[in-house]
């Protein structure tokens, strides 16, 4: 698993407008990050709550569906959260438009 995580990190860091990448395991502990520690922990905690809520909301609206990705566009950046089996990934990048 960690080999594919490394590979993903390398791929994503190659994009110029990526500000940071965080890989968080299912307990909410960041296992890999390209940002500084306090920010990482902050993001990890909040994103885990959000991912959990998103999963619930999608399930409530349609029991056969499941959520795959969330993209949040804010004034300053774009945050993408993608869940996976053992972990979820948070990418923070510059908004493209």
């Amino acid at each position: 698993m960690s080999a594919e995580v490394e590979e993903m990190l390398k791929r994503f860091s190659a994009f110029k407008n990526v500000q940071g990448i965080i890989v968080v395991d299912n307990d909410g502990i960041p296992i890999k990050t390209t940002m500084e520690y306090t920010t990482t922990v902050h993001y990890a905690a909040l994103m885990q709550t959000l991912a959990e809520k998103a999963r619930q909301v999608v399930l409530d609206l349609d029991a056969a569906n499941e959520f795959v990705l969330i993209r949040m566009r804010t004034l300053k950046s774009e945050i993408i959260v993608a869940p996976s089996d053992d972990y979820f990934i948070v990418v923070i990048q510059d908004p493209c438009d």
């Binding site: 902050h42 993001y43 909040l46 994103m47 709550t49 959000l50 809520k53 998103a54 619930q56 909301v57 999608v58 409530d60 609206l61 349609d62 056969a64 569906n65 499941e66 959520f67 795959v68 990705l69 969330i70 993209r71 949040m72 566009r73 804010t74 004034l75 300053k76 950046s77 945050i79």
Partner: protein, 103 residues
């Protein structure tokens, strides 16, 4: 009454946009007022629309907005896309209304 008038103005101004959006690959849309959660417009039946508003707007958008502000107080959420296996929700919270499109 006031909300109704604002809504009519907005719809008239944006009818070209709305036509374009609904002509594309969309499944439907919901427009709901932020403060009351009342559904103003929807292409779905009322029950589904209300459910979408209650779940999406009430839980997820609120959580995302508070989270964005928590991370950086002057920052704010502009829009959100929630991709699921079957389709995608595009959610735009405005000042008065929140618009959700499913595609």
């Amino acid at each position: 009454m006031n909300m109704g008038r604002i809504l009519e103005d907005v719809i008239r101004k944006n009818s070209a946009n709305t036509d374009r959006i609904t002509a594309e690959n969309t499944i439907g849309y919901v427009v709901a007022e932020n403060s009351t959660g009342v559904v103003a417009e929807s292409s779905f039946d009322n029950t589904s629309a209300q459910a979408i508003v209650k779940h999406m707007h009430g839980v997820l958008v609120a959580a995302a907005q508070s989270m964005v502000r928590d991370l950086d107080p002057p920052n704010k959420l502009c829009y959100m896309r929630v991709a699921t296996r079957k389709f995608e929700y595009l959610i735009a919270p405005e000042e008065v209304f929140t618009i959700t499109v499913l595609q």
